[in-house]
Symmetry: C2
Subunit: 309 residues, 2 copies
């Protein structure tokens, strides 16, 4: 276990909703906070709310031309041409809250998402090196009424970070579901709201010098995706098996059914290893050719954390 | 009670999916049946499957320019100009399965829909004058494993019928939920499929001369819609109350909460009468300014029905 880590205090904090314009919890909350920001105020900072993709919010679609939450990479942020509305918008966001990777970037960004999958309240963070974010998750987990608020690491080895929160020095995405696209459900909205409040409370405690002790916890690491079975023309030919549907974060054993064809045939999970599927039957991932994402479960040890005085 | 009614046998039957391109049960089933039509075969007829809105299916959206399921009215069907893709498509469908109101029209059309609301398996029929459709619903209700498969009458007094099924001489829409837009859930797909099978079995029995006895049953009649509360700029300012969410077809008493503002205030149902809300928090109805539709419950007496020999 590494010794106590010190990090600078967090003064410039942003909360983003509507990165995907049809994920309504974040859209509603950010629109509300833009008119009533007091809820985002703490003693040591005041978080800035903003809509990630205003045009997509306006049209209640995920995106206009391309998925904004995949555009925060150097090639797009530094490009002279903006192929799509989202590439242009990524540059605007990068200018306002970055530039990504620079000392001028915001200290922290919280990005609010919904999924049609049964993910509960899940935190998406680049990797276990995201010390501040992982401590924040650990803090929120202890405050939450939910028994299980899993942490999911998305970054692949050597991969550039690409989501909107990567513009800031640190960040995390809160992913809540199940909720249909284009629908706001009261209970999910309320839980998203209290989760953001806990996140801001964590930053406040951190800024005030609280020592967050070292801890061990479990997390899930993205390892790949599984597409739907398709016929020779590329058409999807099976649906997610009822025994897999809604079983996000449950262990999936090799040989267990994952799809059911319209002919009534079960398709089994072929692998040597258990996986922990997530984003099972997420509406937005059909076009990404992912019926679910695979993760491995791992235990992580995090050093203690305190503000650098 | 009226005496036994006689109607001609039904030879030309159509089953439509994808009238809304992101309602996936019907899209998947119709695509399957177009390749494997044997399931739609009975002794006295073979139902014709078709996609209502192929371009919307292709793009996985509800519609391209306008809601197809509102376009089957004389003004649009007889117009020389087609303002939108859907107006043109309505004319094509009318040519293939109508013309609406003529002797040449198909005898029956079943139209397959999903909703994000907790509607279960619901049948939508113009009115209690839709004798054949109401008998079909009564038959399916008796075959179904579900305790409650409500019948909903949508037609207002003096109103022209407008949905796609109105092109045929008789028809009904099967509305199943909850299911997010753009997602196919295995259990809903299976129930939609068995419901269509029961509908076709009913037609087969009818064609073979079965006498369907008179019956009394309850049904729900559309009476109006309730919009979300909005701020002076027109923005939605409250969400469906957790006590109303998912309570489709449950009695809603005056004075009970229907919305919750983001300020935490409950908004109550103001009326002199109980209503039976349906399509509560349906994603596609936000733009139609309907947080839910109101219905009244009524008992209907239907005369016996038999084929005209």
């Amino acid at each position: 276990m590494t010794a106590l880590q010190h990090l600078p205090s967090l003064r410039r904090v942003a909360v983003c909703g509507g990165t995907h314009g049809n994920e309504m919890s974040g859209v509603y909350l950010v629109k509300y906070w833009l008119r009533n920001p007091s809820e985002l105020q703490r003693g040591t900072f005041c978080a800035t709310p903003f809509l990630g993709n205003p045009q997509a919010v306006e049209q209640c679609v995920r995106y206009i031309g391309t998925d904004l939450n995949r555009t925060f990479i150097a090639d797009i942020l530094n490009s002279k041409d903006s192929d799509t509305y989202e590439c242009q918008r990524a540059q605007e966001v990068n200018q306002a809250f970055g530039p990504k990777g620079s000392l001028d970037a915001y200290d922290f960004m919280i990005d609010l998402h919904n999924t049609t999958a049964n993910m509960g309240c899940c935190f998406i963070v680049p990797s276990e090196q995201s010390l501040l974010s992982v401590h924040m998750c650990n803090y929120i987990q202890k405050q939450s009424k939910r028994r299980h608020c899993p942490v999911l690491f998305y970054q692949q080895p050597g991969e550039e970070t690409y989501p909107i929160a990567s513009v800031a020095k640190a960040g995390l995405a809160i992913e809540m579901g199940p909720q249909p696209q284009g629908v706001a459900r009261a209970e999910i909205l309320a839980e998203m709201r209290s989760t953001v409040a806990h996140a801001l409370d964590f930053i406040e405690l951190f800024n005030k010098g609280t020592l967050f002790p070292s801890f061990e916890s479990e997390a899930y690491k993205f390892t790949g995706s599984v597409d739907f079975p398709r016929d020779p023309t590329g058409e999807i030919s099976a649906v997610v098996h009822p025994k897999l549907q809604d079983k996000d974060f449950h262990p999936l054993q090799p040989g267990h059914p994952i799809f059911q064809t319209l002919d009534g045939e079960d398709i089994l999970y072929e692998s040597d290893n258990i996986t922990y599927p997530v984003f099972i039957n997420e509406a937005a991932y059909y076009e990404k050719k992912a019926a679910f994402l695979k993760t491995e479960k791992k235990t992580l040890s995090q050093p203690a954390l305190q503000k650098k005085f």
